[in-house]
Symmetry: C2
């Protein structure tokens, strides 16, 4: 993280338990962007997101640029803007191999992890509670947890030869992964004990100042496990 | 398209009817990268993709970089590498508002269009044929076609005030959109007559040299409509 941005001021619309929203908060924090946070409820029909993002989904950042409003819809646009605005590479590595790896992992989380883990586990634990769709289904939970363990196993292996997911320095892929895992962790779904390298990688990320605001969010009716906000777990 | 790349040589692994693979071919073509194409069958367990991409999915590009093999897994890594390697912006616009718009649209196709249209229509028309899962289901087809029309309507509206999807110049989002539509078009699923602005946008893209190789691909047992490869339809 050698560079910083020239401190623009931004407004973030986010949902506190949406992994992409968490990744946006971490990235803005790491880039030292001065930003305000407005938590929103994307499932409500009058949610402001419907006016600013055609998909109606968080995260969205709004900032001023030469007197115009610049609206950044979706995590990719926010990360891209941070990188464009920085003096030199900020959340992207310099080495082409590590850049490719960062982008591969980003796509992995955006599609595969979302489809196989979030669409199952977060649906059962979070969406069903929000939309009052009844209790979680035991079989779906089991299937989602198996998929999660499979993904964690792949990343555990990756970390055998690397300090960070994409190589020698922290990148946006670490922030995206940590954002996903922190939501799982809140719902007591992270089997940390079985993945020591991942745990060792997560501790210093969780200790970063950018992470602190996330750890204070609470989901109605669900308390996080004791270790969740413990920086030394 | 002001810039070009310093003509590296690359090998592309792709599946001819995968929209992301088609977008990679278009982008490599537009960037004037000299590349060889190897069509692969990702659903076969011994597919070479399983050795090079942990997700087992196309597209993947391999190229040499200072004597090392640089493996670019997933469309995002390929597009990022093209942009990194170009002298100046190539498939990305320069204007920050248009850059944000390009990234928003890219995310739209990667997630929403994939989930709502491809996961339904391409599953029914393509995957079921490949995996011998029986004939398409009429209700799913109807649902997928409705979703497609909804997406096309959004883009049709966008094009009322713009020459290209993200603004004043052709960007990677145009190539990604055209890649998706060309697959739908092959299977006679594009209701062009109802979307005149989209049709007018598509004709010049389809006429580009980068598009020509795509139009020659054939899916076993399915002939494309007469207008499919007609550059003046």
């Amino acid at each position: 993280m050698g560079s910083t941005m020239s401190s623009p001021v931004a407004a973030l619309l986010h949902y506190p338990f949406d992994p992409a929203s968490r990744a946006a908060r971490l990235a803005l924090g790491e880039a030292r962007v001065e930003f305000s946070e407005s938590p929103v409820k994307p499932w409500e029909s009058d949610c402001i997101l419907n006016q600013v993002n055609p998909t109606g989904m968080p995260p969205v950042v709004r900032t001023l640029l030469d007197g115009r409003t610049l609206t950044l819809c979706e995590l990719g646009a926010i990360l891209g803007w941070i990188e464009d605005s920085a003096r030199g590479p900020l959340l992207m590595p310099v080495d082409p191999v590590e850049r490719a790896e960062t982008r591969r992992l980003t796509a992995w989380f955006e599609r595969r992890f979302n489809d196989e883990v979030n669409a199952v586990l977060l649906h059962e634990r979070l969406e069903k509670a929000i939309l009052k769709l009844g209790p979680p289904d035991a079989r779906s939970l089991r299937q989602g947890r198996e998929a999660l363990r499979h993904h964690l196993g792949e990343l555990e292996e990756l970390l055998q030869g690397r300090d960070w997911l994409a190589g020698r320095r922290m990148t946006q892929s670490d922030l995206i992964a940590a954002a996903h895992f922190s939501v799982m962790d809140y719902f007591s779904e992270m089997p940390w004990a079985s993945f020591p390298a991942l745990k060792a990688w997560y501790v210093p990320i969780k200790s970063r100042p950018s992470f602190r605001p996330l750890l204070g969010d609470r989901f109605p009716g669900v308390a996080p496990p004791v270790h969740y906000a413990d920086l030394d777990f």
